[in-house]
Amino acid sequence: DSLRAQDPGPRPLELKEVFKLFQIQFNKSYSNPAEHARRLDIFVHNLAMAQRLQEEDLGTAEFGVTPFSDLTEEEFGQLYGNWRAAKKDLRVGRKVRFEKQEL
């Protein structure tokens, strides 16, 4: 009873509210409710991912909500990844490893 009587303090924001704030901050809108729901799912997944990265990071980095929080990893890679460079570099990497094996 005494615990119940205590003021619980400010209520943590629900994920939907956090997503709404994200949309306002980065001026994001979606074409239909289905797309909105899909982006919300991705956003929630990305928040969990950011939390995991935060725990794994050995430096002082802060991970969290960014302008790319409503994109899947694949979409982010397609939109911002320089795959021409990545493919070439992977080819070089494979060649080097192959040559090492040969030796």
């Binding site: 990071d57 991970f63 911002y80 320089n82 795959w83 021409r84 990545a86």
Partner: protein
């Protein structure tokens, strides 16, 4: 090598952070940033060069589908320089059949370009004594990055899967702030740890990260930073002069 170096502190060396939008032209923006910085250091004259010229006039087709910094440098050599950003403005899409390079006055040019040794110590020395360089990294963690120093392991950020060009503008050390209360209470008796870091200029606008910049741990090849350090050569090599980084 000085303990820290930040070319942003020198006036008119580093141009404002650019926004690549939906065009995958990090390679062209990094190359342009490298040329601008070296030109400004060498000639004490502030220029901002055209990224659009690199996209329209490159030999590898649509520059918005990705590219290589060395191809940007080859384009600069082929056209004997670059126009100014003011004259040949960035449009966010490549126009490969309409290279306008011959119609504009060149404001900066290069003599050559070099691949630097894949070694963080050598990279730091070059940045401190010559100026900013381009590097290729794995951008995976940047999707969720807000601020601070990223220190990853090969399992959290694969150093072989490098897919994003950025400009390395300096380095420094940060006193560790993380730690439990116990650690803090003992901190007076223990040697203080500091985290060495690289300062990198991204091309996702000034509202991303630390005003458009981010920091990676120095000394652990975080996210493959040593995979492809490349820089243009500006000025007469016979008159090579060392400069001091602020």
């Amino acid at each position: 090598i000085p303990p820290s170096c930040d070319w942003r502190k020198a006036p008119n060396i580093i141009s404002p952070v650019k926004y690549q939008g939906k065009c995958n032209c990090c390679w062209a923006i990094a190359a342009a940033g490298n040329i601008e910085a070296l030109w400004n250091i060498r000639f004490k004259q502030s220029v901002e060069v055209s990224v659009q010229e690199l996209l329209d006039c490159g030999r590898c087709g649509d520059g918005c589908l990705g590219g290589y910094v060395w191809d940007a440098f080859i384009t600069v050599l082929n056209y004997s320089g670059l126009a100014s950003e003011k004259d040949y403005r960035f449009r966010g899409r490549a126009n490969i059949h309409r290279c306008l390079a011959p119609f504009y006055k060149k404001v900066a040019w290069i003599q050559d370009y070099v691949m630097l040794p894949r070694n963080e110590h050598t990279m730091a020395r070059y940045v401190a004594t010559q100026g900013p360089i381009t590097v290729l990294i794995n951008q995976m963690l940047l999707q969720h990055y807000r601020q601070g120093i990223i220190r990853a392991t090969p399992s959290t950020c694969d150093p072989w899967l490098v897919n994003h060009y950025v400009l390395l503008v300096g380095f420094g050390k940060e006193e560790e702030k993380k730690g439990s209360e116990k650690d803090l209470s003992q901190s007076n008796h223990l040697p203080r740890h500091s985290t060495p870091y690289w300062i990198l200029k991204n091309s996702w606008g000034a509202h991303w990260g630390e005003q458009g910049y981010f920091r990676l741990h120095q000394g652990s090849n975080t996210c493959g930073i040593t995979r492809s350090p490349l820089t243009a050569c500006i000025g007469d090599p016979a008159e090579k002069q060392q400069v001091s980084c602020p």
